[in-house]
């Protein structure tokens, strides 16, 4: 590929590349607008009165465009800034064009979100006279992005930290405020947080606290120092840290109010199921898209055995029913898994997807209605522990603790299995089935065990879910359950236990807490899966093992790029 460069005393710029990146940035910006992310998220302020989340999305896309343009086109210097600014302004031009076209023709006949409100946001309420604003802002932000890519790394690090901290703090401001208002910290809460979003003071405090804190950590070199300590001394530091984390996790639902408690109970449930799928997908490499099938088996087992209403058959307590939920789910895993585990991996994905659909359709069908209630479902499923409503274990809280305890057990099981003979057999299958078989691994049986274990934990999750909600309907059995779990495992990092926790918090917790996210949840999942596979296939918090693997591979890739590089710049 021949890229023309402009020679100048300041350095070299390839304008073609800058143009292309500007074009990509323009596409992203227009996409954010017409798909509705900008107008919908505009309703949630990040810093009250200053900037909304929707504007932040556009701002980040312009910054990113400038950053990428400056990165890709030049070694630095003023020309790089110019390239970044022009790339940013291209994105701005696209938005201006959107406003102008949208004002002339009614785009809403086709695109739902191309409404006058969107144009108001883009022109800051100035109407057509303000249509130059996106271009100017795009150029400015592009230049800022270019500047960021040019500054030294020890300046860029606090900047990115501050940005992330702002985003997170802005999102959770309302919840933090509600939690703090009942404590002696109420005045501080009012100072820092508005009812949604941060106040200006809160924003400044966040930036100072987090950017400063990270720099402090960096310059004191704390992590490395802890790692270099002798084991006895290290224990003195790490154990209290773990203890504090444990206490925070335990008091979380008590401190944050009943709505948040419900959400984090669901998050804990998904942590549990994510850890379960981590065995199937992360260790054995079986992509199971039919997780919901076993979730359904577990949920209906608990429902049937414990319900005190119409379809209940035994009125057992939860604790007697849950082992059966696990066993039945496992049996179903065996029955469904056996026919298809002989075939190769990608067929398995589709076949399990089919299973999920089969179970969903059966649960809602007239065939099983006399037993499972069909769309009317099974109601009056009791909670595991019967307590008065103001007890600290009331409602979703006990489910949170139960799910958490189960998650710890599963994490322990997964951790111990990993190094076992079986775990090593799984890893070998994941890497190469043929070689594994040649080395004497019984493919079907080994895969079956992984599949059944995953199914067992899905059943456990389903049983706990039934008890959390107190009812189970055919409409609760949705494909999305499977997709949620798969996304958690992949985004967090296949095989990684902290990864599953992080994945569940962000992929389940955030959309459950914020209405705006609910609508775009699967859009984000889709984008996250594509981006993860492209840039970080090992996940956000990978296991050491997976990270090393990827680094080995990228080492080879690096050699390729070196060979290819002269052709690129020629």
């Amino acid at each position: 590929m021949v890229v023309r460069m402009t020679e100048s005393p300041f350095g070299q710029v390839s304008w073609g590349k800058a143009l292309r990146i500007g074009g990509a940035g323009a596409a992203v910006a227009v996409f954010l607008c017409v798909v509705g992310i900008v107008p919908v998220f505009h309703e949630r302020p990040l810093i009250t009165g200053i900037i909304s989340l929707g504007q932040t999305a556009l701002l980040l896309s312009a910054l990113g465009t400038g950053y990428a343009a400056a990165r890709a086109t030049a070694q630095g210097g003023p020309l790089a800034l110019l390239a970044a600014a022009s790339a940013g302004s291209i994105a701005g031009v696209a938005l201006t064009a959107l406003v102008l076209i949208g004002s002339a023709v009614d785009l809403r006949a086709v695109f739902l979100h191309a409404s006058p409100q969107l144009y108001e946001i883009l022109t800051f309420g100035q109407g057509l006279t303000g249509s130059w604003i996106p271009i100017a802002l795009g150029a400015l932000l592009g230049a800022v992005g270019g500047l960021v890519s040019n500054v030294r790394v020890d300046l860029r690090r606090p900047l990115t930290t501050a940005l992330f901290a702002l985003l997170l703090a802005g999102l959770f401001a309302g919840i933090l405020r509600a939690a703090m208002l009942t404590t002696p910290l109420a005045d501080l809460a009012r100072l820092l947080f508005a009812s949604v979003g941060l106040t200006v003071i809160g924003a400044i405090a966040t930036v100072v606290l987090f950017a400063g804190g990270r720099e402090l950590l960096y310059y004191t070199n704390l992590r490395q120092r802890v790692q270099e300590m002798p084991p006895a001394q290290r224990r003195v530091v790490t154990w209290p840290a773990i203890l504090v984390a444990a206490v925070v996790i335990l008091v979380l639902p008590q401190a944050l109010g009943s709505f948040v408690a419900q959400v984090i109970a669901v998050v804990a449930l998904y942590v549990l199921m994510g850890l379960g799928l981590n065995i199937t997908l992360g260790l054995a490499g079986l992509l199971d898209l039919g997780f919901v099938a076993f979730f359904a088996v577990g949920a209906y087992t608990v429902g049937l055995l414990t319900s005190t209403a119409e379809f209940g058959i035994a009125q057992w307590p939860f604790w007697a029913a849950i082992p059966f939920a696990v066993i039945f789910a496992m049996l179903f895993g065996a029955i469904l898994g056996l026919p298809i585990l002989g075939v190769r991996g990608d067929y398995l994905a589709i076949a399990t997807l089919g299973f999920g659909e089969i179970i969903r359709l059966l649960a809602g069908s007239d065939l099983l209605k006399i037993w499972l209630g069909g769309p009317r479902g099974i109601i009056n499923i009791p909670k595991p522990i019967d307590v008065p409503p103001d007890h600290f274990l009331a409602g979703p809280n006990q489910i949170y603790y139960i799910a958490l305890a189960c998650a710890v057990v599963i994490a322990f099981v997964a951790w111990r299995l990993r190094g076992s003979r079986l775990g090593r057999a799984w890893l070998s299958i994941r890497e190469d089935e043929d070689v594994a078989q040649a080395l004497g691994v019984n493919l079907v049986q080994t895969k079956l065990l992984a599949y059944m274990l995953g199914a067992a934990f899905a059943g456990l999750g389903g049983g706990i879910f039934a008890s959390l909600v107190g009812s189970i309907f055919a409409s609760s059995i949705q494909l999305f359950v499977s997709i949620n779990v798969v996304a958690i495992v992949i985004v967090g990092g296949m095989g990684s236990i902290p990864g599953a926790v992080l994945g569940a918090v962000f992929l389940i917790g955030v959309p459950e807490l914020f209405r705006e996210f609910t609508e775009y949840r699967f859009l984000f999942y889709g984008a996250a899966l594509i981006l993860m596979m492209r840039y970080r296939p090992e996940g956000i918090l990978p296991t050491k093992f997976a990270a090393r693997e990827v680094h080995l591979e990228s080492g080879e890739l690096g050699a390729d790029t070196v060979v290819a590089a002269p052709a690129e710049s020629g």
């Binding site: 190769r344 089919g354 359709l361 594509i530 596979m533 492209r534």
Partner: protein, 357 residues
């Protein structure tokens, strides 16, 4: 490694279970069919009706399945987002159709109706092809040499991304396809019990598949595609532009899916952002049924699946006194997939063995 007796016993139990499963399915099908036919509840016209429906539906599946099968043949990738490409085509056709209906052109005369349908096809294919090329460029091309699971997950991501992009763009509501009046008229040959829309779907599908066959077999780029799916490295050494062959494959598959989208819209008259998902999985089933990577197989698999889905619930289940068997037509379709994977993983016409790469 020595095999322990426990392992052997388990293997035996597994084999036994699989045989029991096969026998059970065959028994259900045979006894169910026999009881249904013996009851004489349904006159021959009903069966003919169902068969015609099945054929039309099967043709739509075939058109979608071609995209799966061609991409799989060349990249060994299940293009999970293909169902969404189909749905995008249906939307493209919808907007062309509403524009034409607004102008009064759509139902002016039979000729304008036909021209409108051609325009809808063109619009749908344009949308589908553009989208498919974007997906290929962004989600698949950078991962071409990655382990198999990686592009598959990326494809699943692309599928959801497209679905919810369409939801964001057009909202969660159901869009009703404008009615093309002449298509709803029954064909004068009474025994066929068809409407013109069925004829249109079947004729279009045959024409497109014929065209595809000629394209793959006779043109230069078709030969290149076949060469690349045979062996990428050798094809590259022979001077074939592998990238171009792959991109063409995606484009051709997407064009078929776009046409299928219009056919689906004209037949079922309702589309929404999730419309592509289930037909997508079923079309994949059809592709596996026919033998994945095999073009005539996809067609055969599609028709077979369409017939089983249409005739199956009544034929197999009604005699067994299953209440409202039509609720279970998708169950039958997905069970077919599992059955193929057990009985004949290489599909009806396939030679490739699915257990190996």
């Amino acid at each position: 490694m020595k095999t322990s007796w426990l392992e052997r016993l388990t293997d035996l139990a597994i084999a036994g279970f699989l045989w029991a499963f096969r026998i059970a399915v065959v028994l259900i099908v045979l006894i169910g069919s026999a009881l249904t036919l013996a009851s004489g509840k349904y006159p021959p016209e009903t069966w003919l009706n169902l068969a015609v429906q099945g054929l039309t539906l099967g043709m739509i599946y075939s058109l979608i399945a071609l995209g799966y099968t061609m991409v799989y043949g060349i990249l060994r990738l299940i293009n999970f987002a293909h169902g969404e490409i189909f749905m995008a085509g249906a939307f493209g056709g919808y907007f062309v159709a509403t524009a034409l209906a607004g102008l009064g052109f759509l139902n002016q005369s039979p000729v304008t109706s036909l021209v409108s349908i051609l325009l809808m096809l063109a619009g749908a294919m344009a949308v589908s092809v553009t989208l498919a090329l974007l997906v290929e460029r962004i989600a698949y091309r950078p991962l071409r040499n990655a382990p198999r699971l990686v592009p598959l997950i990326s494809a699943i991501g692309a599928s959801f991304f497209l679905q919810y992009t369409f939801r964001g763009l057009f909202g969660p509501g159901i869009y009703a396809y404008p009615s093309v009046d002449i298509l709803q008229v029954a064909v004068p040959v009474d025994v066929l019990r068809m409407r013109w829309v069925d004829v249109l779907v079947i004729a279009t599908a045959f024409a497109m598949m014929g065209g595809l066959y000629l394209f793959v077999q006779r043109t230069k780029i078709g030969t290149a595609i076949r060469a690349v799916s045979e062996d990428k490295a050798t094809a590259a050494l022979m001077g074939i532009d592998v990238n171009r062959a792959i991109v063409t494959t995606f484009a051709v598959g997407a064009a078929m899916a776009g046409a299928a989208g219009v056919m689906y819209g004209l037949m079922f008259r309702q589309i929404f952002f999730f419309s592509g998902f289930v037909p997508g999985i079923k079309a994949f089933t059809a592709a596996v049924l026919g033998g994945i990577g095999n073009v005539p197989g996809a067609m055969l698999g599609g028709i077979f699946l369409g017939e089983v889905e249409s005739v199956g619930p009544t034929l197999f289940l009604d005699g067994l006194n299953v209440p409202s068997p039509n609720q279970l037509k998708d169950v039958i379709a997905f069970t077919m997939l599992v059955l193929v994977l057990i009985f004949r993983p290489s599909g009806i016409l396939g030679e490739r063995i699915t257990t190996r790469a």
